[in-house]
Symmetry: C2
Subunit: 355 residues, 2 copies
């Protein structure tokens, strides 16, 4: 059987803020027949994740260091991979059969993902079957996958929190930030988040239970704003944005404060906007600033992460913010919108219509 | 008995680079008689330490956060305290007698130090008798005191080195930097240092045994310079200077690299020169940047520090760079010279002449 697969590529490398016009929708004929002896699996995508870090992979060679042992470059005209889930429609691999629901961090930004596997290709081992269907399927894209583990490992392993410590999280209504704030509240911290609209601020306080939240776009002086929300100083800063907010947080930190650097979205689109944290403060206050990736902590935390997260979900204590676009055509705008702050919670693209 | 005590004060707060004219030499009559019942100790100073961090204590209120639980402000017209050693000339404290050699981190910048003590005042407990006289007396000011412990704790506790890792140290001919590089070499690291003159560079390579050293003032592009000395990347950066050098080091670091932030001398005199390290690198390379103070590690490392340091000294493997000025009048120029890079090794003022 042959189907038509529509997928998205970048037309050229993207070094600034991405625009819809930087992308192109392509069409290919795709045979759902697997050659005998091949272990490939073809997946009809159901939910795709769009994530800010992918922009760094789209930059011109030289703008992004390729020696980081992390996800590779996304090249013009080539398929784009990312997190997602889908249903197996053809399989040469005895471990996966038609109809299986699977998730992988290498789903293609399109209607189908072709996952090349062989008995000796360990990459394929990362394709996971989804069995636990107590919650909406989309939860497996972010909450029970990369976003959730990033938030959990970042908070517990990198921030090393103590109960009653005061935590500040930027990008607080985003995929990771909204979970960090909730894990921290449930653990027993005082939590303040910032976001870029009143609607997001209201959500943080009213739905997610943050102690306080503010709209950073309405603050003329971020240092004073943080001083207002943390008169006794910040113990932990979970940084999703970098730039000026990092500077302001360092200024307001307590001795032995910790900064978990999860992302620096304000710096992805403009190198000129880098923060210049006060290193004199870093020394005298013995601050630790630590960059991290969830993958490094996965093995250590996964079991605890899953049991804690499921327990909070079942108890109705953890709220999931999802922001859904629909159809393969919406991928470019969903992605570009991340850098305009359009999304409220985890941005995803749903591809159910053709199912 | 009454003596004349000459001492140095600042005329006003100093917010930029210090000049000799910011200081004033004052004279007071000092009685060497201790009132019965008082536990005070009067010390004739022999060696005084001048240290860059003291500039931060001289800044205008608001330019330096006083809530850091560290050494307090240095105020105009008041005596200035710092590290030093001297000989007891009067004592009401039965634990110290005339003639004892003592060291303390609160010696006055002048000819005498008056150390107020009482049985309930624990501050006095920090006055230490010097008994081990196998080495020059001046070694007790820096090498066997704050500089040594800072270098040792910073390298072993904060940098957490592994043998054969590649270490870069800035301010490498300074008091702490020169020791860090030597500890690292003796431990088994590859060591490159930077300093501000050819003479210093030669010393690092020829006397201290660094693998490589360079004069940063002769480099137009610090990133490329570090790339040249570290074609396989930096594992550990021991930062004494902050600013652009920190940016360049972050750019050249390997995954899981560690930055120990000991000082940021390039930023002490000019807030505008702050470094803006690339946080995208910090995330993807999982870099840790950690500020530290020796005092926090003192208890844990002191015994190891002392035995390791003495062993290396006795074996002729550790070289001590001292840069001596003479007489109380030379304190202002000794201190101001730190920020011009005049000193080669630990800057001290010797006050033996009047002894």
């Amino acid at each position: 059987m042959e189907v038509t697969n529509r997928y998205v590529v970048i037309k050229h490398n993207i070094d600034g803020a991405p625009l819809e016009s930087d992308f192109e929708l392509r069409t290919e004929a795709l045979s759902l027949w697997i050659e005998p002896g091949k272990y490939d699996v073809i997946v009809k995508n159901l939910y795709l994740s769009v994530d800010p870090y992918q922009l760094n992979r789209m930059k011109s060679p030289g703008c992004f260091q390729q020696d980081m042992n992390f996800a590779g470059a996304i090249c013009p005209g080539q398929k784009i991979n990312g997190d997602g889930i889908g249903r197996v429609v053809a399989s040469g691999n005895p471990e996966f059969k038609e109809g299986d629901l699977v998730s992988w961090y290498c789903m293609s930004w399109g209607e189908y993902s072709i996952i090349k596997m062989s008995p000796s290709n360990m990459e394929g081992a990362k394709l996971r079957k989804i069995e636990m269907m107590e919650f909406p399927l989309s939860y497996h894209v972010a909450l029970l996958s990369l976003s959730g583990i990033t938030a959990y490992a970042g908070f517990f392993e990198v921030c090393k929190p103590k109960k009653r410590e005061k935590l500040f999280v930027s990008g607080a209504s985003g995929s990771v930030g909204s979970l960090v704030g909730q894990y921290a509240k449930l653990f027993g911290c005082y939590v303040v988040g910032c976001a870029g609209s009143q609607r997001k601020v209201d959500l943080l306080k009213e739905k997610l239970g943050f102690d306080e939240a503010f709209n950073y776009k309405e603050e003329t002086d971020l240092k004073s704003a943080l001083k207002r929300y943390f008169p006794d100083g910040i113990d932990i800063y979970f940084d999703n944005v970098g730039g000026e907010m990092l500077e302001a947080a360092i200024e307001n930190m307590n001795p032995f404060g910790r900064v978990a650097v999860c992302g620096a979205i304000s710096e992805y689109t403009d190198k000129g906007r880098r923060g210049a944290p006060n290193m004199v403060n870093v020394v005298y206050k013995r601050i630790t600033i630590q960059g991290f990736l969830a993958a490094d902590h996965y093995k250590k935390v996964y079991k605890d992460f899953l049991s804690t997260t499921l327990e909070h979900l079942q108890g109705g204590k953890l709220h999931v913010l999802e922001d859904m676009s629909h159809g393969v055509e919406s991928i470019p705008s969903a992605f570009a919108g991340l850098f305009r702050g359009d999304n409220v919670g985890k941005k995803m693209v749903e591809l159910l219509a053709d199912d």
